[in-house]
């Protein structure tokens, strides 16, 4: 055997061939040693991917092979972590999971029964029909599903979903995004649940009869000048004529539209060697293209994935369930007005406000957090209304602002401003102005502050590491004033972070936004 398996990862001979990793006969991960690892005495150490680590406590038979399975580098029983049971990378329903090509845990096609495979194919076909008949765009099968259909006559063993693309006629990013909004609205009207991943791609959530949800990505493709762009992050040269008019391919007994020249598309995606299987393939996208796509289409959901991981992981249990001291302080000033907790997190304060008899809305951008509040809400028979707000998205901010402007209430936000980037923070002031100006409610803010000689500077991370940053109270005061608000109360002193651990400098602010007719 030429490999060592430990809690740190896999120590492998330096090589550029892709390798497959199985645990107890189930595929979990593919890697390329020199690309994914770091040199160490004895070879290259490839650390276990972060998404696998929570599952690596117990005993199991680990097998590392080349992509054909003919050459075995390791095949032995190992004990990892401090667990006693068998290693199993499975979801809550017991379905086997593996690391997909973008580093997420997903259920691979190889571990999917025939009946479920049929549901995925039929669902993909229905998505294409709905996109055409109701979304007004012609979608084609692409990425892994196209590669599998052309190269192997079926879905790739280690693929986990299907990807669709449509070629937009637009050449301005603003028009491309507007078109994508229209498509998502049409698909929702058709009953699809979906997630918006950027201004140019959505994920359709296809529920399967085994309890799993299959993701069907719908990516825009477009030309600007001579450059062809296709989401995820692809950019380069591919003429329109290589895509339309479509050809047809068969996949598991279903006919799908495909690019007119599949060879040209697959070479564009995977390079000229696309006919040679490489399950550990990673894209090498031109940085200039990624920069342009980031600028045009992205920015409103940065860190959403990290917050979802936080809310679904073990660390969230360290957030106390009892009300925060700031929650008590603010609640004593609420009077009879309803309260909107923006960035409600685990809902610890929102639920307590509800228990105290206030009408409460909890808003957050993380679906992980919102689901947690819904569960706690149900268990405690409380009536906190729960909704998503994405402060990085102007539409979401304006929609909530318009809704909240209709009735008086308070806004409450604890440890929110330190989580927001500059554009989202600007839109938070817009929300406060819209929501509070007509009704006379107050904004109650608490955040980890910058204090000279006491804390690190503005932007310094506080717990959970990297997701919350220290903020200078002076910049917040200035921003409130600039947006038409009046700071009534501002203190900086020792307090608590999100976990109720001591924080040497916490800022509390109470502010209001006078009605335009009020004298300030």
């Amino acid at each position: 055997m030429t490999a060592v398996v430990s809690d740190d990862g896999l120590l492998l001979p330096a090589g550029s061939r892709p390798l497959l990793v199985e645990i107890d006969g189930h595929y979990v991960w593919s890697l390329t040693p020199v690309r994914d690892g770091r040199p160490q005495s004895g070879g290259v150490l490839v650390p276990w991917p972060g998404v696998l680590r929570p599952y690596l406590a117990g005993r199991g038979r680990v097998r590392i092979t080349d992509t054909t399975g003919a050459e075995v580098l390791y095949d032995d029983e190992v004990g990892l972590g401090d667990g006693e049971g068998r290693l199993a990378v499975v979801d809550k329903a017991g379905n086997r999971l593996s690391v997909d090509k973008v580093g997420h845990l997903a259920r691979s096609f190889a571990d999917t029964g025939e009946a479920i495979q049929e549901e995925i194919m039929a669902g993909t076909r229905r998505a294409i029909d709905d996109l055409r008949d109701h979304g007004g765009v012609d979608a084609y099968l692409n990425y892994g599903a196209l590669l599998g259909a052309i190269r192997e006559g079926g879905m790739l063993k280690h693929d986990s979903d299907t990807d669709l693309c449509y070629l937009s006629p637009h050449t301005s990013p603003a028009d491309i995004i507007t078109e994508s909004y229209r498509i998502s609205r049409a698909m929702r009207d058709r009953g699809w649940r979906l997630l918006r991943m950027s201004g140019g791609d959505i994920k359709l959530l296809l529920p399967l009869s085994d309890g799993r949800v299959c993701h069907i990505d719908v990516f825009v493709a477009f030309h600007i000048g001579d450059t062809f762009f296709q989401l995820g992050n692809r950019s380069g040269t591919l003429p329109r004529e290589a895509i339309v008019p479509f050809s047809t391919i068969e996949l598991h007994g279903h006919e799908f539209p495909a690019p007119r020249d599949p060879d040209a598309m697959l070479s564009f995606l995977y390079g000229p060697e696309w006919r040679t299987p490489d399950p550990s393939f990673r894209y090498a996208d031109p940085p200039a293209g990624v920069r342009r796509l980031d600028g045009w289409l992205r920015g409103f959901r940065a860190e959403m994935g990290s917050w979802t991981e936080f809310f679904n992981g073990a660390r969230v249990s360290a957030v106390p369930r009892k009300v925060s001291s700031f929650g008590r302080w603010a609640e004593s000033q609420f009077g009879d007005l309803p309260v909107v907790d923006v960035g409600a997190g685990t809902g610890r304060d929102a639920l307590w406000f509800s228990r105290r008899g206030h009408a409460v809305q909890a808003l957050d951008f993380s679906r992980g957090g919102l689901n947690l509040i819904r569960r706690r809400n149900r268990r405690s028979s409380l009536s906190v209304s729960v909704d998503q707000i994405i402060l990085g998205e102007l539409r979401s901010t304006l929609m909530h602002g318009t809704r909240l402007a209709r009735d008086p209430h308070h806004l409450y936000a604890r440890h929110l401003v330190g989580c927001l980037d500059e554009p989202a923070l600007d839109q938070f002031w817009l929300l406060a102005r819209m929501a509070l100006r007509p009704g006379g409610g107050r904004l109650f803010l608490e955040f980890s502050a910058v204090a000279d000689g006491v804390t690190a500077g503005s932007g310094a991370p506080v717990e959970p590491y990297g997701l919350v940053r220290r903020v200078d109270p002076a910049t917040i005061r200035e921003a409130i004033t600039r947006s038409g608000g009046v700071v009534e109360h501002l203190t900086v002193g020792p307090g608590e972070d999100m976990f109720d651990l001591p924080d040497p400098a916490v800022c509390r602010i109470r502010a209001h936004w006078p009605h335009p007719k009020e004298k300030r």
Binding site: A174, Y181, R291, G299
Partner: protein, 70 residues
């Protein structure tokens, strides 16, 4: 070219990487306007025009429908 001119050109050249970085940042800011334009277009076409109805129940219904469609 005089020594003074050469020194001036060298100073300019040394400053180029910083100017390129600043320009790249400014270009990226401009790119981000695309999403803002699209969002405003969406708001105007899907929300503001129907809201002209100014009927309270109708407004609630339109807001709810817009929220569901985001």
């Amino acid at each position: 070219m005089s020594t003074h001119d050469v020194k001036h050109r060298l100073r300019q050249l040394r400053g180029l990487p910083e100017r390129v970085r600043a320009l790249e940042a400014e270009v990226q800011e401009n790119r981000q306007l695309n999403r803002r334009i699209a969002e405003l277009t969406d708001i105007v076409t899907e929300l503001l025009i129907p809201l002209e109805a100014r009927d309270r129940d109708k407004v609630a219904e339109i807001l709810e429908r817009y929220k569901q469609g985001l």
